[in-house]
Amino acid sequence: MTATTEINNIISEENLVYKKTDVLLDNEMHYCPGCTHGVIHKVIAEVIEEMDIQDKTIGVSPVGCSVLAYNYLDIDWQQAAHGRAPALATATSRLMPDKYVFTYQGDGDLASIGCAEIMHACNRGENIVVVFVNNAIYGMTGGQMAPTTLEGQVTATSPYGRDCATTGFPMKMSEMVSLLPGTRFVTRQSAETAGAVRKLKKAIRKGFENTREKKGLSFIEIVGTCSSGWKLSPTQSNEWMKENMFPYYPLGTLKDE
């Protein structure tokens, strides 16, 4: 028996243990090797399929690397101006209260230019899910300093390392929004191992279940990597993230009401 025949025998319906969800489109992703966005997209798509809410889900994409998220998930999308996704989601959710509305935002979008919109959407307790991808840098514009950039971290606009005395300190968005009574579920996750991805999926599922139960706003931060911006290989990026990001942005659930 040749190796090929052996593989073909194995690839059969009864042996199927994993299948790409149909909610994830076949379009080739534009993300860099090692980027966390692809995994997060897949996890959201799987949750949408498992909850059977593809026809009821509206995504709001940001400005940043994930501006084109609508090319990858087979649902209705709105593409927001920089930072404004929570405002779009607010109106969409209020005007169509039976739908599942989520924003997908990076750290520049959510924590810098969109700081007012996210804080007030959280404070009003909008019935939406916020997926916040924190990789401590602006990816799309070429690796500039973000509000979440770590102290000493080298970026295109902090070429000598972030100096907190002049540029402020890395912002802990999950901690901040967890103080607002409008948020019901605030958690910080990652996606660098199979185990982490399983936990992330649980968290995203919980977020959409909260929407179904009209519980209010679920804020899911994902600490991710930006190999291109960090100028590290994908493997080195994961190591750098674990060594530097996790101590400052500890994983875990901050609030679950």
């Binding site: 593409q79 109106a91 969409t92 919109e117 007030h120």
Partner: protein, 361 residues
Amino acid sequence: MGDVRLMKGNEVIAEAAIRCGCDGYFGYPITPQSEIMETLMIRKPEDETGMVVLQAESEVAAINMVYGGASCGKKVMTSSSSPGISLKAEGITYLAGAELPALIVNIVRGGPGLGTIQPAQSDYFQAVKGGGHGDYKLIVLAPASVQEMNDFVDLGFELSFKYLNPAMILSDGVIGQMMEKVELSDYKPRWTDEEIEKISGSWATNGKKAGGERNISTSLDLDSAKQEVFNHKLQAKYRAMEENDVRFEKIACDDADYLFVAYGSSARICQKSVELAREKGIKVGLLRPITLFPYPTKQIQEMLGQVKGILSVEMSAGQMVEDVRLAVEGKVPVEHFGRYGGIIPTPEEVVEALEEKILGK
């Protein structure tokens, strides 16, 4: 006669929104238009028609809520005054770029900067020529009475859905704050989901239909060739507006030797100036653009064989006068008269300006 009342212009905007089946209003307080949101909050349309009314955290958030709501195929609106409209400019160009219908009300106050809370017409350029970035146009309606504040809410939505383009009511503190008799519109129910599907099903982001195409509300296309094709489409749409939806009013124009061109509250003042001038034997008429875009260029040109001079009267340093001059192409003298910074001209001042700037030539 229907439901006739004595009401403030701003209150009428709120009442007309509820009655025309508006789905959502998103606003932020600013003088001199805060009565719009206040009236809505008192009226509580959520209990009556299901219309959502929300005080946003900023003008920026409010216009982006409008973008979200408009993307769902809903009839949504916002209102503000000049400094607030500057903040909304980003959202307005995104609405135009994503081809979304929405209604924006600007109760103009004097500027620049924080300016004054008194009435002005110094946002003509911003409303008609752009305000935000990119090659886009708004449908701009200029009410000259409280009755038109009522009528143009429904008309604004009608035109914005006809062209899938945001529409603006460009009013000012005079019309917003003054009380007049108004016949309110009859109630129209809000659109049902089925109606929205019929009207906007091809683009509304209200959930991908099983087996159907999904919808994406976006103004982004990184492919320049496609972006140019899209811009051609927008320009064709604006030309169609110019062909089909110019609105204007002519007063005492049949025998006029001279012409006032004025919109909104300036047109109201000019109506009196026409009477005063005619008492003095000066035969002057008034052409009132109702749509500022599309502009009644042809209608001004049609007057050129008849009138010997035109005075553009605006509460600005001279903005609309540029469109009058573009229409006239130097064939007769065109001058501008305006008071600004919150000062409202008197009818007598306008007649004096006509005598000095046009007859005196």
